[in-house]
């Protein structure tokens, strides 16, 4: 409540939250493609690699101008991407190892430089460490404009190259055979990922920026089987996370924005993975239980069917002990059998007489006779 009050009364927070929401939209859109191309970790490398870029840029110019620092981040990010590609292509080191290697080397270097900077006597140095976890409240209006402009360009590029992004994400080899160079398109995607990371550094920080790219796409994939809807949903999830995360962080004293945004997006991912229809874990569990129940019912009905056809009177009833029990753990056989028989009775496939004597009905016989697996040959 308090947070909302602050939000509606404070113009600065409104601006800053808009910036974060915008960032969420942009990273959700381009991040969806990173997820689909199984390159989620590339974003992680680029964002970590930005840190030494920021530090070096500061050392060079000795002033804390955001744009100059971000240009440093951009160059370092591109260098890291290049390093990963070169290692992957020309050495025997596998792609994931190359990612891990480049990430730790760049980030380690960044931390060393940052420590060094903090020791030199320069009043400007304060606040560089904000880039590690992000602090949206340090955003100025012009920073938000940067996010807006770069974000708009990224989304425009995605829409412009939609067809190419789709085919290269799905089948790069076929795409190459058509003359749509997967190398060129990958380059475009990497460039857009780098750009979206750069505009997110101030808000979310180098460590958690990759979550901003990956999480909305992962969550969105759970809810839909259509690429366009997935990208749209990812942008919505990203926007919600950016907005809510920033509001939370600005209502709690010295709470960095990065972690609070990531907490929000993680909740969205958790809900999506658990409850999304079809792909959700809960949904799948229910379906599995349903199918196990169905199979058990079929087996019991089949047992009654066999009793019926081996008896002079097919509708002669049998006590529950004669009906072939299903195997269960923990000696709950009779009870489970009863509940299955009751379920079958509800369907009209069996009837009960004299308390606990069961027989198969006409409908039950028909069901078995029409069953693709259970029917007698």
């Amino acid at each position: 409540m308090e947070a909302l009050k602050i939000f509606f009364s404070d113009y600065t927070i409104q601006i800053v939250s808009m910036g974060s929401a915008l960032l969420g939209i942009v990273s959700g859109v381009i991040g969806s493609f990173a997820v689909l191309r199984k390159q989620s970790l590339l974003g992680d490398v680029i964002s970590h690699a930005a840190l030494p870029g920021i530090a070096l840029a500061f050392l060079l110019v000795q002033i804390k101008d955001t744009n100059i620092l971000l240009i440093g981040a951009l160059i370092a990010g591109l260098l890291a991407t290049g390093a990963v590609r070169v290692i992957d292509k020309y050495s025997r080191i596998k792609f994931d190892s190359a990612l891990g290697l480049v990430l730790s080397v760049f980030f380690g270097g960044g931390l060393v430089l940052l420590t060094y900077i903090q020791k030199i006597p320069n009043a400007n140095q304060a606040g560089l460490d904000k880039f590690i976890f992000g602090q949206a409240s340090t955003l100025l209006k012009k920073d938000v404009y940067t996010v807006l402009i770069v974000g708009a360009i990224i989304i425009f590029m995605v829409l412009l190259f939609w067809k190419e992004l789709k085919i290269v994400s799905f089948d790069p080899e076929f795409s190459d055979s058509l003359g749509i160079s997967s190398k060129k398109v990958s380059f475009i995607i990497s460039g857009l990922i780098v750009a979206s990371i750069i505009i997110g550094l101030q808000t979310v920080g180098v460590i958690l920026m990759s979550a901003m790219l990956v999480a909305p796409g992962v969550a969105a994939r759970q809810w839909t089987d259509k690429l366009s809807i997935m990208v749209l949903l990812a942008s919505v999830f990203g926007a919600i996370s950016g907005l809510v995360g920033t509001i939370i962080s600005s209502s709690i004293q010295s709470m960095p924005t990065g972690p609070s945004i990531v907490i929000v997006v993680s909740v969205i991912v958790l809900i999506s993975i658990s409850f999304a229809p079809n792909r959700g874990l809960v949904w799948r569990q229910i379906r599995e239980m349903d199918s196990a129940k169905q199979i058990n019912e079929d087996k019991v009905l089949k047992s009654l069917y066999e009793l019926a056809i081996n008896h002079k009177d097919p509708y002669h009833s049998h006590p529950i002990s004669v009906i072939k029990p299903i195997k269960t753990k923990g000696g709950k056989k009779t009870k489970q059998l009863e509940s299955i028989l009751l379920a079958l009775k509800k369907d009209g496939y069996v009837e009960v007489e004299g308390g606990n004597n069961w027989f198969i009905t006409r409908d039950g016989l028909d069901y078995i006779n029409n069953h693709p697996i259970l029917k007698e040959e």
Binding site: L36, K38, L160, F161, K163, E164, K166, I167, S169, F170, D171, E173, F174, S175, D176, S177, L178, G179, I180, R221, T224, D225, K226, L227, M230
Partner: protein, 245 residues
């Protein structure tokens, strides 16, 4: 004399790391035939068609289609990759995937048209998948996936087709569909090159064969080339037991 050949491969050598996969391959394919590329595992069958399609850079050698480079003839060439080469959990539909076959004709940045969609539906119907057009691709069986890839190649409306193991692990219905399409393509004067692994069906499905084991052992019409002796030569290094005729 040379214009009789629609595909000409000359001195093609391809190596991964240092190990040569294809060695000095020369190949000439006449127009309008169904050709199988046959050879043991690791013989370089897929590599050969990928190198011809400019997907792998050869160390040396050249390929000409209708006397021109791949670059110039691209729109005349259709490709069916191995179906295992993509992630079938990608969020898209059968129709969408088949439409991708049109992208080469459409070109960069332009949108697909209504006509492209009609052509895609036509191809989907041809492979017997019309009920599945709107279906998410992760719900398809292996055979259905193969037919989707075939339909995608059909909408490329090419002169020359390359297919990488289209019979690999498919059901009877799909196998019939593939054969029907091969015959249909031949009757329309198209040339089809198929990487194939089932020796028994070669004489039945194809009229031309290239026996490959790093080098081209022999290439020509089935009647003269697909002999027990040549097959023995092709499979000698792996000691595979053969049964021809």
């Amino acid at each position: 004399m040379e214009e009789n050949y629609i595909i000409e491969v000359e001195d093609m050598t391809v190596a991964y790391q240092v190990k040569p996969v294809l060695w000095d391959v020369d190949l000439r394919v006449p127009k309008g035939i169904l050709m199988a590329i046959v050879g043991p595992n690791g013989a370089g069958k897929s590599t050969l068609i990928k190198a011809m399609l400019d997907l792998i850079k050869p160390i040396s050698g050249s390929v000409l289609f209708n006397g021109e480079t791949y670059e110039k003839q691209r729109k005349n060439i259709g490709y069916v990759p191995q179906r295992g080469s993509v992630d079938w959990d990608f969020p898209t539909t059968v129709l969408d995937v088949v439409m991708m076959g049109r992208y080469g004709h459409i070109g960069w940045l332009k949108r697909t048209s209504k006509e492209d969609k009609e052509l895609a539906m036509e191809a989907i119907t041809k492979v017997g998948m019309e009920e599945f057009a709107k279906r998410q691709i992760s719900q398809l069986s292996g055979g259905q996936q193969q037919r989707v890839f075939l339909a995608r190649a059909l909408v490329q409306d090419a002169e020359i087709y390359f297919m990488d193991e289209p019979f690999q692990g498919v059901d009877a219905k799909t196998e019939r569909a593939v054969i029907e399409i091969l015959k249909d393509l031949r009757s329309r004067g198209k040339t089809v090159v198929v990487v194939h692994h089932d020796l028994q069906t070669v004489p039945e499905y194809f009229d031309w064969v290239t026996l490959l084991n790093t080098q081209v052992i022999e290439s020509g019409p089935i009647e003269t080339v697909f002999t027990e002796e040549n097959l023995k030569k092709t499979y000698r290094s792996t000691g595979k037991v053969l049964r021809s005729e």
